[in-house]
Amino acid sequence: MTLERRKTVATLLADRDDGLLVVTGLGSATYDAAAAGDDPRNFYLWGAMGGCLMVALGLALAQPGRRVLAITGDGETLMGLGSLATIGVQSPANLSIVVLDNGRYGETGMQESHTALGVDLCAAARSCGMARVFEIHDEAGVARLVRELQTGTGTLFARAIIAADDPPRVLPSRDGVYLKTRLRHAIGCDEP
């Protein structure tokens, strides 16, 4: 059983708390978040593959009073796998990571990723010391994830097993300076 990626992300971001900040990995995760509704508190990566989780860590450490949610794919996570060790050591209570895992590199033609060939991202996250690690593949799992995102504490790592499909692209702005500036405006951290 697998989840539908667009619906899953839309559910995670429905009725979002004012404080929630979202960082997305390049490719489909960025399109999924944009499809759920553009928001100045979203920071979309359009490149810098492997960087999503570390951008989210820097933001989480800088904003301990807000929750930070990183949404990315299995390929993007694999490219920055060392980040799991770095994040595990830091263990920010306000950081949640959701990996949309279809075992494919969607942007380049749906070639198999390592997770389709036996690599277990949850085991990696657990061994790196993440506080809350679990896998979801159905609606009950999504409901649990929503609860954990809103009320739980401790670094969260969830692997959402999604269908290997390729929904139509929903493209947010590619202007990095704009995306950076509007997020800083939205949370009132512009320097004088």
Partner: protein, 178 residues
């Protein structure tokens, strides 16, 4: 340290003072002998969060996230780490994030390991190709003011700036744990 590198100026502490005064809140690093004193000083500073990295490119992304959240970050690395950062620096250019990095050089003055030379000798052109400005420090008394100038430029102008601490400044590698 050998006699050649003995200096009345404690440059790691000078750099630390500048970073603290500049309001640096997140200091990321890959453990490095040349940066050992500065790293220890940052770890002992309550206003600074030190973040140990598995690879230097993580620190580039961390600095971007810190800035999104209103904090200043500094990335400490050795010259070999510059090569690890190349693609991640596209994040800095594309979004015009400020970046302050301090790089201890290998592969130049009195290098004993030829494996350090290929990356060490191309650090400056690689950084320039990646739109990172470079300042070089050869004398201990210049370290603090150079990092100050780099911090002003990076955070005042939303620019990426690297301070390269020359191998002559740092001294010959000693086979002790730093």
């Amino acid at each position: 340290m050998n006699a050649e590198s003995v200096s009345p100026v404690d440059w790691p502490l000078d750099i630390h003072r500048v970073l603290e005064a500049a309001g640096i809140r997140q200091v990321s690093y890959v453990p490095d002998a040349g940066h050992a004193g500065l790293i220890r000083a940052c770890q002992a500073t309550p206003s600074m969060r030190t973040v140990k990295l598995t690879t230097e490119e993580e620190g580039v992304a961390l600095a971007a996230g810190a800035w999104l959240g209103g904090q200043r970050s500094a990335l400490l690395m050795q010259s070999s780490g510059v090569g690890n950062c190349v693609n991640m620096l596209s994040l800095v250019t594309a979004c015009r994030f400020p970046l302050l990095t301090i790089v201890t050089m290998r592969g130049e003055w009195a290098e004993f390991n030829p494996w350090q030379v290929p990356m060490g000798t191309i650090v400056e052109p690689v950084l320039r190709l990646c739109n990172v400005l470079t300042y070089r420090v050869d004398r201990a008394e210049e370290a603090g003011e150079t990092v100050q100038a780099a911090a002003d430029l990076a955070f005042g102008g939303d620019l990426a700036v690297a301070v390269l601490l020359s191998q002559r400044l740092i001294g010959r590698k000693q086979w002790v744990h730093g």
